[in-house]
């Protein structure tokens, strides 16, 4: 055994370092990320003086300055040693978070609870089947789904802290101690007002056909920047009829004839009689949906079972083919 846990003789190395505890490390990480003692204190829920005291203790115990203070300035930066320690500290704190999450997820009375964050109501199309599959294969796992419109970094924080055991998200993921499995490629399609002549098309052959199409775009959609840059790379300057944070109402605007919208196929409600779907083949990169979780967690069997169930459910879901108007 390599860790200190295996030492059975002599005083442990770390034990000699008094002020080198997780709370000191949390203070260092917060100061490094926020850049002032005051904002670090706000994040940690301490007063500023408590943060500077913890940093001072940490510096005493490691015997090196960790923070550089510019005279008369509230902003501080990490020294080389401070930055090095902050990186180790982030790993230690991530492991502590994973431990807390693992203990909280421990089966009580034989039932393991698995809390899944869902990024987008579109995946509700596969969830019922995935839940059935999981129930059949792992009856002792109870899945709790949390649907939220929150941006990806909020779910990432919840996965890191163990508020969620896993989450569905579009790739790429936020940086963090995460492991993931890619589940589905969801092609980008064009949702078109049914009344438009364009609605009669099954598929567009070229992106430049989009140059003259007024578009409705949701700026809170993380993939929008990628879609726009692909259009521009193809020489198409998109014409936006509406470009604002719309989330749920994009399709309603399309149905009302305001414009067409580029959307992941699963995001289009295909029961809507006022909207037609025109395929784009692989002219635009698909949205890639993945399941991710905290890589330091130890009891991941239920998460693996969930990943299998979701993968099977996604496999069964053929991407809706582009349909011509009937």
């Amino acid at each position: 055994m390599v860790g200190l846990g295996g030492r059975s003789a002599g005083a442990p190395v770390v034990g000699r370092l008094g002020g080198f505890e997780p709370r000191h490390l949390a203070a260092l990480v917060a100061v490094g990320e926020t850049g002032t003692f005051r904002t670090a204190g706000e994040r940690l829920g301490y007063v500023q003086s408590a943060v500077s005291q913890q940093i001072a203790q940490l510096e005493r115990s490691v015997g090196m300055p960790l923070i550089e203070r510019a005279a008369g300035q509230p902003a501080v930066t990490l020294t080389e040693a401070g930055a090095a320690l902050a990186e180790h500290a982030a790993g230690i704190l991530a492991q502590l978070d994973a431990a807390a999450a693992d203990l909280r997820a421990m089966p009580a009375g034989g039932t393991a609870q698995l809390r899944l964050g869902v990024h987008d109501r579109t995946v509700m199309r596969v969830l019922p089947q995935a839940i059935d599959l999981l129930g059949a294969r792992a009856p002792d796992v109870r899945l709790v789904v949390r649907d939220s419109q929150a941006p990806p970094h909020v779910r990432a924080c919840d996965v890191r802290r163990g508020v969620l055991d896993a989450a569905l998200e579009d790739l790429p993921l936020e940086p963090g101690p995460f492991a993931s499995v890619e589940l589905f490629h969801d092609p980008i399609v064009l949702a078109v007002p049914r009344a438009w002549p364009l609605a009669a098309r099954a598929q567009l052959g070229r992106l430049d056909e989009l140059a003259s199409v007024p578009l409705v775009a949701d700026t809170s959609w993380p993939m929008l920047a990628l879609v726009e840059s692909q259009l521009r790379a193809a020489g198409v300057e998109p014409r936006f009829a509406v470009r604002s944070p719309l989330s749920g109402s994009v399709q309603a605007l399309v149905a009302a004839g305001i414009g067409a919208a580029l959307l992941p196929a699963l995001a289009v409600d295909d029961r809507d009689r006022d909207v037609a779907v025109v395929g784009l083949g692989d002219l635009l990169a698909p949205r890639r949906i993945a399941l991710y979780w905290h890589a330091h967690r130890r009891r991941l069997r239920p998460v693996e079972q969930l990943a299998d169930a979701l993968a099977a459910a996604f496999d069964d879901l053929a991407a809706p083919p582009a349909r011509a108007a009937s």
Partner: protein, 324 residues
């Protein structure tokens, strides 16, 4: 939403941040020693201090971690305690890495470089790497160690037991960085005088169908090679497996079967066996790997440079053999 998401566990996280290293060490020591008294001896505390630390830890994490024993039976961890222990070992290893890293920053070079490798690398690369490195960095003590499986090398890098390791790609570990060294082609090792040994040039994979095979038990590339053969509809029969390169080759020489081995793992001077390239087989890629969070010590960079030179020379040898 962003605030609300963090709130329900805010108090719990604050409690967890109250955990101190000595609490974690107490849990690890009890698991390791089996009693409070021996744990106390090992850590240099009195027994009541250990009991207090565990009680404190249990309050902070909110669950029982230890089944209190009656009489002389050894204490055991609860399932929650076992689960936490797995994390505690990781946390203590991470602490030790942080500590060593800080020590190296304050003292300059640590004066010690621990390198791990597979047997084939130990046999073929190490004898050339060590003297050249010693010439350039005479003050550095190199501690080499050998593992039969490179998954163990990866574990040792992650837990801080090694500074550098010679591994096969892919590493499948995003905490590690690596640098490719060498494409090491696969050879078929056959008993001298056997039909497989008699041909010239590369062995057609089809010749391996139903051939008895001596396998390396912990070599990840073994399964990859078998999988590759399977895609061609070729299935050798594994009749024996061993961890030791020399044993595998001795079993081949004893006419027990053939083996598939990377160039570096084969002793070409063995009169009992003949080695021929395996036509079309994907070579294994040897790389040198290290933990990304480590500040690259100058000595480690120098060792990597020496490894690159030696690998380039071996690549010449491989080319001369005609496998490439």
């Amino acid at each position: 939403m962003s605030e609300a998401a963090g709130q329900p566990d805010g108090g719990a996280r604050d409690r967890w941040l109250g955990i101190e290293v000595r609490h974690l060490q107490a849990l690890a020591a009890i698991a390791h020693e089996g009693s409070f008294r021996e744990a106390a001896d090992a850590l240099g505390y009195v027994q009541s201090a250990i009991s207090q630390q565990i009680a404190h830890l249990e309050r902070l994490v909110g669950v029982r971690l230890i089944e209190r024993a009656r009489g002389n039976t050894p204490v055991t961890l609860t399932p929650a305690g076992e689960l936490l222990l797995e994390h505690v070992e990781q946390i203590l290893a991470r602490y030790e890495r942080a500590h060593e890293h800080l020590a190296s920053l304050s003292e300059g070079l640590t004066g010690r470089l621990r390198i791990g490798m597979l047997q084939s690398v130990a046999t073929r690369m190490l004898p050339q790497v060590l003297p050249r490195f010693a010439e350039r960095c005479p003050g550095i003590d190199v501690v080499p160690s050998e593992r039969t499986a490179d998954t163990r090398l990866i574990d040792a890098l992650r837990s801080g037991g090694l500074d550098l390791a010679f591994c096969e790609l892919p590493l499948d570990d995003d905490e590690l960085d690596h640098e490719e060294l060498l494409a090491d082609p696969l050879l078929v090792v056959a008993p001298a005088g056997s039909p497989l040994a008699s041909g010239s040039g590369p062995v057609d994979p089809a010749e391996l169908d139903d051939v008895p095979l001596i396998a390396f038990s912990h070599w990840r590339g073994q399964q990859r090679a078998l999988d590759w053969l399977a895609t061609l509809g070729v299935a050798p029969r594994v009749v024996f497996s061993s961890d030791h390169n020399a044993t595998v080759q001795a079993l081949v020489a004893a006419d027990m079967g053939a083996a598939i081995a990377p160039f570096l793992a084969v002793d070409l001077s063995d009169p009992g066996t003949v080695a021929r390239p395996l036509a079309g087989a994907p070579a294994r890629t040897l790389a040198i790997a290290w933990l990304r969070s480590e500040e690259p010590a100058p000595a480690a960079a120098e060792l990597r440079a020496v490894a690159r030179e030696v690998a380039a020379e071996l690549a010449g040898e491989i080319e001369a053999f005609g496998a490439w």
